[in-house]
């Protein structure tokens, strides 16, 4: 989340809210009266308001934010697990969640924040080799595959599993902290785990 976000008062004009968003290069603003969160206004709200195009219509520019904001927005606690927040965003088809603690608004969580989390979960920010696997969805399969990697003394930065391409399978994405990943891929294949990665790339797609 972004702590201490820029906010607007419900009495501020739409033009002021829009220019705050442009200046900060973000798309959502919590609307705060005193210490209390009363709504959220998004660039989308302003663009899809009847009569407003991409440019905010002249007539709307002088109206107070209170007239266009989403009142009583969905919020999360600061200690909510990230997957709960993600599900709230997806289920409600919204782009941000104000983070509210006992003392009031403490931050805002946006879809961009979740992408940063995704990047960390998938290890995309650190030097590493990517290896993908398809495993039978049975207890112990992942453990056996990881033992093969561990025995080579290779440090795994991230392990992510997802539903596999066929029913009864799990896809696994590994980020291995080695420049020499071909032996890891070869060892996995030799142990009966179909793996794709350096030394065994996908069929030529060109």
């Amino acid at each position: 989340m972004t702590g201490g976000p820029v906010t607007v008062s419900p009495r501020a004009t739409v033009a002021a809210a829009m220019s705050a968003m442009r200046r900060g290069r973000f798309r959502h603003l919590p609307v705060v009266a005193g210490a209390e969160l009363v709504g959220v206004v998004s660039e989308r709200d302003l663009e899809t308001w009847p009569g407003a195009g991409v440019e905010v219509a002249e007539s709307l520019a002088d109206r107070p934010v209170a007239e266009v904001m989403t009142s009583q927005p969905v919020t999360v606690w600061p200690d909510e697990p990230v997957e709960v927040a993600a599900r709230l965003l997806v289920d409600n088809a919204i782009g941000c969640l104000p983070v509210v603690a006992e003392e009031g608004l403490v931050g805002i969580l946006t879809v961009s924040d979740l992408f940063s989390v995704l990047l960390q979960l998938l290890g995309g920010g650190e030097p590493s080799s990517r290896i993908t696997l398809v495993l039978p969805d049975v207890p112990g399969a992942l453990g056996r595959a990881m033992t093969v990697v561990g025995e080579l003394g290779v440090n795994l930065l991230t392990v992510v599993t997802e539903p596999g391409p066929e029913p009864g399978t799990r896809g696994v994405v590994l980020r291995a902290g080695t420049i020499n990943a071909a032996p890891v891929v070869a060892a996995l294949v030799a142990a009966g785990f179909p793996a794709t990665g350096p030394g065994r790339p996908e069929p030529d797609e060109r």
């Binding site: 973000f26 660039e43 080799s129 980020r175 420049i179 020499n180 030529d204």
Partner: protein
């Protein structure tokens, strides 16, 4: 030491050794240097002396606590107790500590420093540092066999001592991430890396959109290539990006990382290059060094893990190119006899790559669809439009005849520097009789080539070149109108052309030449049926020479286009939206039907992204 080239290596570098079970091991040095000696292209006089790098040098790039850890883990005896510390500094796995590694790493950095210093000072033209090019090492972390970033240290030291612009070309199969990171915001060090895509391969970075951070934006260039790219594809990508980049950047010193781990038999990558490809790349780099850097070239060995078949031969080819000494056609038999018996059979006996029969030269067609898209994107982001026009990727096909014909015209403009003649529809024969002012920098520093380049543009089937020249026949400015690049947002719209380039020689700027040229260029009646677009990416602008800020430059450019009826437009096209100083303008002809106008407008903003 003799001659204009030297090798920065000696037996001490064999101590940089992660052990026989690791791909990066001591045998590389001996196998490589002994072949050079056996082939009689290297003797002791060719060796450049060097000393281990000092703390003050390494601290230009690395943090002190990392260097202290390196020294601690380097001591012989039992490993220090804290495994978490080793992991934090990357001193595990690939970079498992070995006794003496601190001194070994300092020797590697010292070799590269000596090489760069000697070339920058003009003592030598070219130096080859074979056990060097540890391009992955980060500020406080060992990565991928790289304990210290010798290249970054040497460049940082050299650019501090001399006001040089350095072009760093990384041909290793892996992205040159550590060197890129070290100079990510530095406009005077331009890094370009051609590598296998990080989709699977280590280190995973090196995407086209890693551009650098202001004020160095546009000075990090990446060309991630598909597995199985092969020699022709790799060379085509090199030609399409590196040569024009050098023309645009105007470097004083070329530093290269010539990793040969892209070879088909290398265990660490899948680029499927061959020795023929490495030799061609070395030739191109050599030519580039002489054309753009007065010959100043430091080549480092980089990666390469087929120690028997590839590394010694790749080094021999590279050194032969640097030193101008001819290699014997066959591998010296005495050297071969000294190889372990089980390795001997693997050698084909040929030292020079054999000529491949029936192979045409590389061209863009040898790039597959994905690589083509990558190369086009890298060019759009890295090269100013004027340079792209001078170094076209391919003849633009299919658009011929979109620009209806009219009689060639001539006009005049009175600039403070003297009267100028404006001409459009210039036939190639006329252009061949004109000369080009040296202040037009898009053209390579190669006398004789300039006219050739101009006539080539004029011969483009859909291109239109308008020039401003003096009565004596010296071209001081030009405008090129072309089809927009295929695959871009406005590329497929009918009746739309792009002002691909506009340039005025540095001595003739601020005299209204650009405005006059542009107004003259769009005067002909057929332009009333067309939409013309033009875009400017702030990091392409010659801010250094013009002395303007990006915002001021944008204002000047906006006025030049405005005078010819172009209007600035807001768009969320990602390359334009990347930087608020970027400019997008269009001129919609008076007879453009409303349907076409609407189709164009609807493409300006696509998403719900914030538009700067």
């Amino acid at each position: 030491m003799s001659g204009a080239a030297a090798v920065a290596a000696d037996g001490r570098l064999a101590t940089y050794d992660f052990g026989p079970d690791r791909p990066f091991q001591a045998g590389r040095l001996d196998a490589g240097l002994s072949l050079l000696r056996a082939a009689k292209v290297l003797d002791d006089d060719d060796l450049l002396a060097f000393a281990p790098a000092a703390d003050a040098d390494l601290e230009l790039i690395h943090d002190r606590d990392y260097l202290e850890a390196l020294a601690r883990f380097s001591a012989p005896g039992p490993a220090p107790a804290d495994p978490a510390e080793a992991t934090r500094f990357g001193l595990v796995g690939d970079n498992r500590p070995f006794p003496g590694m601190d001194e070994a790493a300092r020797l590697v950095a010292g070799a590269t420093m000596a090489a760069v210093d000697a070339v920058a000072a003009g003592d030598l033209a070219h130096v080859f540092a074979p056990v060097a090019g540890l391009h992955h090492a980060q500020r406080r972390r060992a990565v991928g066999f790289c304990l210290v970033n010798d290249i970054a240290v040497a460049i940082a030291r050299c650019t501090r001592a001399w006001p040089l612009r350095v072009l760093y070309v990384d041909l290793d199969a892996h992205h040159g991430d550590g060197v890129q990171a070290a100079f990510y915001d530095d406009p005077r060090v331009c890094t370009v890396s051609l590598h296998e895509t990080g989709r699977y391969l280590f280190p995973g970075s090196g995407e086209v959109h890693e551009l650098g951070r202001p004020p160095g934006r546009g000075r990090s260039v990446n060309v991630p290539l598909e597995p199985s790219t092969g020699d022709d594809g790799f060379l085509a990508a090199f030609d399409a990006v590196v040569e024009p980049l050098a023309a645009a950047f105007r470097p004083d010193l070329l530093v290269t990382q010539n990793g040969c781990d892209g070879h088909a038999t290398d265990p660490l990558s899948d680029l499927t290059l061959s020795l023929r490809g490495f030799r061609e790349l070395a030739r191109r780099l050599h030519r580039l060094a002489h054309r753009h850097c007065q010959g100043r070239w430091v080549a480092t060995g980089g990666g390469g893990y087929d120690l028997d078949q590839v590394v010694p031969r790749a080094w021999a080819l590279l050194w032969s190119e640097l030193s101008g000494r001819r290699l014997p056609a066959r591998v010296p038999s005495a050297w071969l006899a000294a190889r372990p018996a089980r390795k001997r059979a693997e050698w084909s006996g040929w030292l020079e790559p054999r000529r491949r029969r029936g192979s045409g030269g590389p061209g863009v067609r040898s790039l597959g669809e994905r690589n083509q898209r990558t190369v086009r994107a890298a060019r759009r982001l890295a090269l100013p439009p004027s340079v792209r026009v001078v170094y076209p990727l391919a003849r633009r096909a299919g658009g011929a005849g979109r620009l209806p014909g009219w009689e060639p015209r001539a006009g005049e403009h009175h600039a403070p520097g003297g009267p100028l003649v404006l001409r459009d529809r210039c036939p190639a024969s006329l252009l061949r009789r004109l000369e080009v002012d040296p202040g037009i920098h898009a053209f390579v520093r190669d006398p004789g080539q300039e006219r050739e380049v101009l006539s080539r543009i004029a011969e483009e089937p859909t291109g239109e070149v308008v020039v401003a020249h003096t009565p004596e026949g010296v071209v001081v400015g030009y405008v090129a109108v072309l089809d927009p690049e295929p695959g871009t947002r406005f590329g497929s719209l009918p009746g739309l052309l792009e002002v691909g380039a506009i340039e005025v020689a540095s001595g003739w700027r601020r005299g209204g030449v650009a405005s006059a040229l542009l107004r003259f260029a769009v005067e002909p009646d057929p332009f009333e049926d067309l939409i013309l677009i033009a875009s400017g990416l702030a990091w392409h602008w010659d801010l250094e020479q013009s002395g303007l800020s990006a915002v001021a430059y944008r204002r000047v450019l906006g006025r030049v286009f405005g005078a010819a009826g172009f209007e600035p437009l807001r768009t969320d096209e990602p390359e334009i939206a990347y930087d608020p100083a970027n400019l997008f303008v269009a001129r919609v002809g008076s007879r453009v039907p409303p349907v076409r106008r609407a189709a164009f407008t609807s493409r300006l903003v696509r998403g719900h992204h914030a538009v700067p």
